[in-house]
Amino acid sequence: MFKKILTGVLMTSLVLSTVACGSGGGSVPDGSSADKAAKTDYPTKAITMIVPYGAGGTTDLVGRQFAQALSKELGQSIVVENQAGASGSVGCQATLDAGNDGYTVLFAAESLGTQRVMGISEMSYADFSPIALVANDPKVIVVAGNSKYNTIEDLLSDIKANPGTIQMAYTGPGGSGHVQALIMNKYGYEPALTAYSSGSDGIVAVMGGQVEFTNSNYSTVKSYIESGDLKMLAVCATERMEQYPDVSALSEVMEGAEDYLSIPYTPLSLLVKNDVPEEVQEVLRSAAEKAEQNEDFKKFMDDNNIDKLYETYKTVEDMNKFYSAWESKVSWMLFDAGAATNSPEDYGIAKP
């Protein structure tokens, strides 16, 4: 009998242990008061940059390059931390949980704009203040090197002839690949979708003949196109790429889609939480502006054909305008296609 009671106690402590840390694991405000006094001499120690995706992805790559350039301007090292998981919401949450002192910054991709409607988290761009809107990695449509499709017209006409059977690899609902598949649906093309956990997994699926095609970030597939393992059929944009004048832009073959294809699909930006003092944000912003002009960084961007969004969106107002326009366009598209859990209306996101 006594043993049963003891078992009960042990079980309770088992539950308690999880609950205790659930409540205690929240935000621990560290040193926020100390920093009020030291507003001008920020930064005095290393800064942590959280990348909410795994190492090696486009967000990680650009983030690390930018961190390098930024740390030169700030005179402090920047430690990049990958906190992947849950469509980027883990890393974003970690940034919100960190102190208000500006020593934790976030290098986020687009998922902040769709997390609420996709029912992943309650966070959005509004919870953060933009420091810099850095880059957009263009999306391209690729097939295997030995594929029977040689042009985007071949592929699209086959999809049209066999709706729901031509397999396409994408990175899961709400991601940029999904958004593009929805655009294709809108114009009467219906590929069969199979989800892969990362862009590179999708590429392997294309090369291994599991699926017919995928749309991928250009920087990820660049070397495969050069080696002939993959064929690039189209650029998901309104303009062709400089390096590949023979490859069509998707808007040329899907008439009327210009409006949707002109959106940057993976806008990458440097953010801090809203509570970070304005002075600190200004220090970061002016350093970011200089870092954008860093020769090594520019060369990296050019080599990988990444759009330099910072050239277009310079002020905080511009960036915020960009985020709300992006959020509204993509959220409504997901919702109208029946892919979103929550209505954008619930969050006051206006129709585009």
Binding site: S13, L14, S17, T18, V19, C21, G22, G24, G25, G54, A55, G56, D60, L61, R64, Q65, Q68, S77, V79, V80, E81, N82, Q83, G85, A86, S87, S89, V90, Q93, G119, I120, S121, G164, T165, Q167, G172, P173, G174, A192, L193, T194, A195, Y196, S197, S200, D201, I203, V204, M207, G208, Q210, V211, K222, S223, Y224, E226, S227, F300, D303, T341
Partner: protein
């Protein structure tokens, strides 16, 4: 790759010193429960990004090679594997250490880790292209079946009863389901708890199931106060150790190939090699599971051969084979290198540096292993009353450090207490770890396979119709059926003389 290019690094003093420092660091992080090699490499990424690519590669390869090995140290000495791939080493290593033969166990671990690492790296140097081509042939259904096969094997290896082994694996898979679903992104089994959204992290679970549960089990076994395991003074001849050499080559092949399949990695390789060892080694020194050195040889050569294997898809397909290679890949990108089909052609220098760093790491592994094992094996003679509290604190800190979340500490305790209950009822915790590690991969690949097959004209043929799939399905079925008690007793009647089953439930980890 050119042999001269590799050799050039091996005589470069600066490169050697950096690799050595990396190896020392690897020894340290690998051996401390809760500190993982991936954590150390992640840290190195931020330290080395201003260095030259070659220097960074040397250091990181040192950490990687020696770190994977030194996971065996804590596995053998305190029954806490430093990483999932060392889980198998606990099965024979710890019983051996308990009998005072820690030194012997460590010697085997050192030698076979060395052999495994060298073999894997050699395969990387020579066979990268054909192995890539083979790995590309593996489709989602094959990955699913491979994981299922791995779990069935583990279930049959670790418990007295097959159903208990499978149930343990199932518990692991169950925990892997928690969190945001990797495909659709909707929360699954989180019951509204924010901390569960990112899923159950492997390190806290591992540390809890092995480390904290071990503390609780020792307490409940009613150890005598001040009890000390005596360390037996012994000389282990290298010639004797090398008896398993020819078998180990077979384990190395398993290790390299499984390592090259993204997502499967070290733990699967070690388990498969171990089950093969059980099959091919007819007369082990003592029965498997009670301290058979043959088991240590199998697990250590296979998990270290995985290093070379895991680097193959990372270099040729930009798909990392495991967590560590994922981080190494980001180092590449930082240094402007593009892993992918052209890598071996265009970045020969970096490839040479990787191989040189790897081979030097192997040498340091052997040196450090030989020099340090007599010292670290003394850990086992630390009185329990001091060892247990310190191990508990290490468990807490390790669980916390991997993601700096207090929530993970709670998870660690949860798994510790769960592990304690399961162990007292004759369940082994090793399959839980493996289930947890493989669950996510099984889930996504199964759904992918179904999704891909659903558009085919004949879904069943699309699912099972290819040669690799047929082979995997057949061997999985054979493993399961041959372990069903009724079938098993039939077979045992036939071969009465050989009884390989572990006698006591406790000896199953």
């Amino acid at each position: 790759m050119s042999i001269l290019g590799v050799l050039a690094y091996c005589v470069n003093i600066r490169f050697i010193i950096l690799t050595f420092l990396g190896s020392l660091a690897g020894m340290f992080v690998g051996a401390i429960p809760g500190l993982s090699v991936s954590m150390a490499t992640a840290l190195l990424v931020s330290i080395t990004y201003t260095w030259s690519t070659e220097d960074a590669m040397g250091t990181i390869m040192g950490v990687y090679v020696v770190g994977v090995f030194s996971g065996a140290l804590s596995a053998i000495l305190v029954n806490i594997p430093g990483a999932p791939s060392s889980v198998v080493t606990t099965m024979d290593g710890h019983p051996l250490a308990k009998r005072g033969k820690a030194f012997k166990a460590l010697k085997y671990a050192t030698v076979y880790s060395f052999i495994g690492s060298v073999f894997g790296l050699a395969a990387l140097a020579i066979l990268a292209k054909p192995i890539t081509a083979l790995a590309l042939k593996f489709q989602p259904m094959d990955y699913f079946l491979l994981a299922l096969f791995g779990l069935a094997t583990v279930g049959s290896l670790t418990s007295k009863s097959f159903s208990k082994g499978l149930i343990a694996a199932l518990i692991g898979i169950f925990f892997s389901l928690i969190g945001l679903d990797s495909v659709v992104g909707s929360p699954r089994l989180t019951f509204g708890i924010q901390g569960l959204k990112s899923g159950i992290a492997t390190v806290p679970a591992l540390v809890g199931l092995f480390g904290f549960a071990e503390v609780l089990c020792t307490v409940s076994d009613g150890y005598a106060e001040g009890e000390v395991t005596k360390l037996e003074k012994m000389v282990v001849k290298t010639g004797e150790v090398l008896k398993e050499f020819w078998h180990s080559l077979y384990y190395c092949v398993i290790g390299t190939f499984v390592g090259a399949l993204p997502g499967a990695g070290g733990p699967v390789a070690a388990f498969l090699a171990y089950s093969e060892a059980k099959r091919i080694v007819k007369n082990p020194s003592v029965p498997f599971g009670e301290g058979a050195v043959e088991g240590i040889a199998a697990s250590e050569s296979a998990n270290n051969a995985c290093i070379g294997g895991a680097l193959i898809p990372m270099l040729t397909l930009a798909i990392p084979g495991d967590a560590v290679t994922a981080i190494i890949m980001s180092v590449f990108y930082i240094h402007g290198l593009q892993p992918g089909p052209n890598f071996l052609k265009t970045s020969g220098e970096a490839f040479n540096a990787i191989l040189a760093g790897g081979f030097l790491g192997c040498i340091f592994l052997l040196v450090l292993g030989t020099l340090l094992t007599p010292v670290v094996s003394k850990v086992i003679s630390v009185p329990k009353k001091i060892l247990l509290p310190v191990v508990t604190v290490l468990c807490v800190v390790g669980a916390y450090a991997c993601n700096t979340r207090m929530f993970d500490v709670g998870l660690m305790f949860f798994f510790g207490i769960l592990g304690y209950f399961l162990r007292t009822r004759g369940y082994s915790v090793a399959p839980i770890t493996l289930g947890l590690v493989l669950g996510g991969m099984m889930d996504t690949n199964f759904r992918r396979a179904v999704s891909l097959a659903s558009t085919a004209e004949n879904p069943v043929i699309a699912l099972f119709g290819r040669p690799i799939t047929i082979v995997l399905t057949v061997i999985t079925f054979i493993t399961i059926i041959s372990n069903i008690p009724a079938v098993k007793s039939l077979r045992v009647k036939k071969v009465r003389s050989v009884d390989l089953e572990p006698v006591k439930a406790e000896s199953a980890i």
